[in-house]
């Protein structure tokens, strides 16, 4: 965690002098201990995040089990092209983040700054695309927060499945649940992206100043874990929301 910097160390602790180690917090013996502590701490944070998103995945799971067909049809409103593109963007950004960590591990300042910036830009692209997608949904009255929410199945589906008007009403409702889940999950994910981008900006300054070196780079490393985790969530969100049931709507 980023906490592992100088924590207003009260002086006078004689156990070990560490005037030579500016980034070592007073309560750690050495960089090794500090690094392992923050690495493990960050992993626990990731575990926490898994459960945090896990609640939403449970919601998805339950409703998809109950409303399989409706979810499949509703997902056809999502744009695979944008979604797929975004998946690619995020994967590449994960790669550049890994490269940034690598640069930090080697204590190379310039590549580190460069890769961080690229990652930041890719993150921005992702959020931008998400914005485009969201606006379309808003335009099509597919945001469940609106009174005007209305889901109409794509052409052909009604005939293919012989949907009665009553069944369509039900479908409208279940599609609403689908979009609730969609907005909750992708919204939370996008929020994580935004926080991540903020953190990159925050890390760029010390990176630029050359604060990170071979001994001390755990903030970058830990942030890398966070970024990869956000990528990981999307790796599941994409197929679950965009792809499952994709074969249905052409019928």
């Amino acid at each position: 965690m980023a906490d592992a910097t100088h924590a207003a160390a009260p002086p006078g602790h004689g156990a070990h002098a560490h005037g030579h180690a500016p980034n070592l917090a007073h309560h750690f013996h050495d960089y090794e201990q500090q690094r392992e502590a923050s690495f493990f701490g960050m992993w626990l944070f990731v575990a926490q995040e898994i459960m945090f998103f896990g609640g939403l995945f449970t919601v998805y799971l339950v409703y998809r089990m109950r409303n399989t067909l409706d979810f499949a049809i509703a997902s056809s409103e999502l744009d695979v092209a944008w979604g797929g593109l975004n998946t690619g963007v995020l994967i590449v950004s994960s790669f550049t983040m890994a490269m940034a960590v690598r640069a930090a591990q080697q204590g190379k300042r310039n590549p580190l700054v460069l890769f961080l910036i690229v990652t930041l830009l890719l993150g921005a692209v992702f959020v931008g695309i998400k914005y485009i997608e969201y606006s379309t949904k808003f335009e099509h009255h597919l945001f469940p927060g609106f009174e005007s929410f209305r889901f109409d199945p794509p052409p052909g589906v009604i005939e293919a499945y012989g949907l009665t008007p009553e069944r369509l009403e039900v479908m409208n409702q279940r599609a609403r649940i689908f979009f609730s889940v969609y907005f909750a999950m992708t919204g939370l994910h996008a929020l994580h992206m935004l926080i991540g981008m903020g953190l990159i900006v925050w890390l760029l300054f010390p990176a630029w100043k050359g604060r990170f070196n071979r001994d001390y780079h755990n903030p970058i490393e830990c942030f890398g874990l966070y970024w990869h985790f956000v990528d990981l969530v999307w790796i599941f969100l994409f197929p679950l929301l965009y792809l499952l049931g994709r074969h249905v709507h052409g019928v």
């Binding site: 090794e32 690094r35 392992e36 690495f39 493990f40 992993w43 626990l44 990731v46 575990a47 898994i50 459960m51 896990g54 609640g55 995945f57 449970t58 799971l61 339950v62 089990m65 109950r66 695979v80 797929g84 998946t87 690619g88 994967i91 590449v92 994960s94 790669f95 983040m97 890994a98 490269m99 690598r102 591990q105 080697q106 009553e166 009403e169 039900v170 409702q173 071979r214 890398g224 874990l225 990869h228 985790f229 990528d231 990981l232 790796i235 599941f236 994409f238 197929p239 679950l240 792809l243 499952l244 049931g245 994709r246 074969h247 249905v248 052409g250």
Partner: protein, 114 residues
């Protein structure tokens, strides 16, 4: 883990390639109707991708036992949440109203009078 493991660029590039290819595959497969297999394939590929990210990008492959345990534990706990919730849902005998009642389904009021 005394020394920090630094992965070669080639590893990262390979993983990147694999992830992108798998993304393509999963999109491509999604357009064919494989019955229930669609779900299996999509999730299977997602799990593979996730594993790659965790092992290589997140360096778990080179991490100590404690971190490995944390990762496995985190996902295992998620499975507990899924599993036991699903146990309830799949065995519930009660009827989910379809469509849900907007008005009183017993029609107390509609006819009026006792």
């Amino acid at each position: 883990m005394a020394e920090v493991h630094i992965s070669p660029v080639r590893t990262y590039a390979t993983i990147l390639g694999a992830l992108l290819v798998l993304t393509g595959v999963t999109v491509w497969v999604a357009f064919y109707d494989l019955g229930p297999l669609n779900d299996v394939v999509a999730l299977g590929i997602a799990v593979i991708k996730a594993t790659l990210v965790v092992l290589f990008f997140m360096h778990v492959k080179y991490a100590g036992r404690l971190v490995k345990l944390t990762v496995v534990g985190g996902f295992f706990w998620l499975l507990i949440l899924f599993g036991l919730t699903v146990i309830d849902y799949v065995t519930r005998g009660d009827i989910v109203l379809d469509p849900p009642p907007v008005i009183n389904p017993i029609a107390f009021e509609t006819e009026g009078g006792a």
